[in-house]
Amino acid sequence: MPLVSLHNVTKRYPNGTEAIRGLSFEVGKGEFVFLSGPSGAGKTTLIRLLLRMEQASEGDVLVFGRNLRALRRSAVPYLRRNIGVVFQDFRLLPDRTVFENVGLGLHVLGLSRREVRDRVEGVLYDLSIDRYANAFPPMLSGGEQQRVAIARAIVMQPALVLADEPTGNLDWELSNDIVRLFENLNSRGTTVMMATHDRFLLEAYPRRTLLLNKGFMIEDRVGYAVPKGG
């Protein structure tokens, strides 16, 4: 059974704009998939649909085999506990330490203080940011902040990680670091869907790529070829 499955999904906003048009694809367990395309292609909308922050206007979105259209509002939190999400702008809380930022979601699970500490320290160590546990995000560089955001996403041990342009604010070196982190995560069985419009990254990491443009899926292929004139 695929982990993510879309069937003729269209997302239309009240002003008539169609962010996604007739999109269909499947992502299996343990896959690493790039979502690519220019600004306005529909990458962020797709991620929002998978998180059930938005509802599809037409078609079905299935995550973990559940149709999100039929999902009750009260069940959405339980869906999200299995999905880690990373954003381009990190979305860290500036007045909380790195440790508190990463552990934020674990309180939702009702874990004990010790369990929270063990899990957070473990993840910070894995991502080589354990020395910043007591630092506040504004004291960190962009790359370090993004690592904290990734730590927050994976500390919940999700089956699926969605990353929306996580390298958008980072230089080439740091972008590589971040993608390698996601690859490492993927090698341990976590499904990763990462949105990016950085063609150099796509060339450097030949993985399955869903190329979107103006809401349509242009291409679904393994590896990436720079479009002509692109």
Partner: protein
């Protein structure tokens, strides 16, 4: 209840492992939310303090208006009930007629006691009412004295006797010279008591409205908290926090503000009422004192404070929660 629990389990099973399902985890969540609610008080300390002070002032006024108004009404009510009339008898009236008058007056249901005063006793009573230095300069028999009946009325709580009606009836009895009513008639005292009671009601209602309006302070403070915590709430939603998990700290903060504010106001009012009682010697001489019921007042304050805070949090959360 069982069905609801079943649905909860079903939801959790749908999406695989989602954390610790034990009761201990629920307790940990509750403790975490309580802590977050307490922390919320410090997010905008100035606004929180202003909110608590306004709640305290409003609660203090409600309590004081209610208790002092009650005192004023009780005082006037007692004054009306303790009304007495003096029935002066003609000099030549025979003792048999006096006894007949006493018997007829005592027959009235509203009359409590009838006491006969001789001319000397009346003179002594009048002398006692005069300033001592004046009495010293007067001839003893220059102070007027007339044999009379001192009629006092029955003390019926909440109902003042109709002294005027009884007085006019007494005037019609043969042998009665003059019937002296109190300078302020019982009916007027009763009217004053009713007016004070109405004033007390209006003032108490005004104070209750003031207390209700402090809900806006609570809403304002919680809205500020939500603005400060908007990012945190958004992230919490993304990591799978339920509606309750996001809302409960707001309710905790609102209830804490409400309870602290109203409780402070009630305590201040109790202190003022206690001090008043101490100042007037605990009693105004007619068995009336400022009513002080600490246990009931404080319990009610906690309930009202919690209700005001929870209502404010509810309004704030439905308007602004991300």
């Amino acid at each position: 209840m069982a069905a609801a629990k079943g649905k909860g389990r079903e939801r959790k099973k749908d999406f695989g492992p989602i954390g610790d399902p034990s009761r201990l985890a629920t307790v940990r969540r509750a403790a975490h939310l309580l802590t977050e609610g307490v922390k919320g008080l410090a997010i905008s300390p100035g606004q929180t303090l202003a909110c608590i002070v306004s709640l305290a002032v409003a609660a203090c006024l409600v309590t004081l208006f209610a208790s002092y108004g009650s005192l004023a009404v009780s005082l006037l009510d007692r004054a009306g009930q303790r009304a007495r009339v003096l029935v002066y008898l003609k000099d030549e009236v025979p003792s048999a007629t006096v006894e007949d008058v006493i018997r007829r007056v005592r027959a009235r249901t509203e009359v409590d006691k009838v006491e006969y005063l001789s001319r000397e006793q009346d003179r002594a009573r009048n002398t006692a009412l005069l300033p001592k230095d004046l009495v010293g300069r007067l001839q003893p028999d220059s102070v007027p004295g007339q044999h009379c009946l001192d009629v006092s009325f029955r003390d019926t709580p909440g109902r003042a006797p109709d002294v005027a009606a009884v007085a006019s009836l007494l005037r019609a009895i043969e042998g009665v010279d003059v019937v002296a009513e109190p300078p302020v008639g019982a009916a007027r005292i009763r009217s004053a008591a009713a007016a004070v009671g109405f004033g007390r009601l209006v003032l108490t209602l005004a104070a209750v409205l003031l207390l209700a309006s402090t809900v806006f302070f609570v809403i304002g403070t919680l809205t500020r908290t939500m603005e400060r915590r908007r990012d945190e709430m958004t992230i919490l939603r993304l990591v799978g926090a339920t509606d309750a998990f996001v809302r409960v700290p707001l309710f905790v903060q609102g209830v804490l503000q409400g309870v602290i504010g109203v409780l402070c106001g009630a305590i201040a009012a109790l202190i003022v009422a206690g001090a008043t009682n101490a100042w007037i010697g605990g009693d105004l001489g007619v068995g009336v004192r400022v009513p002080v019921h600490p246990a009931a007042t404080l319990s009610l304050a906690v309930l009202v404070g919690a209700a005001v805070g929870a209502f404010g949090a509810f309004i704030a959360s439905i308007r602004r929660l991300p």
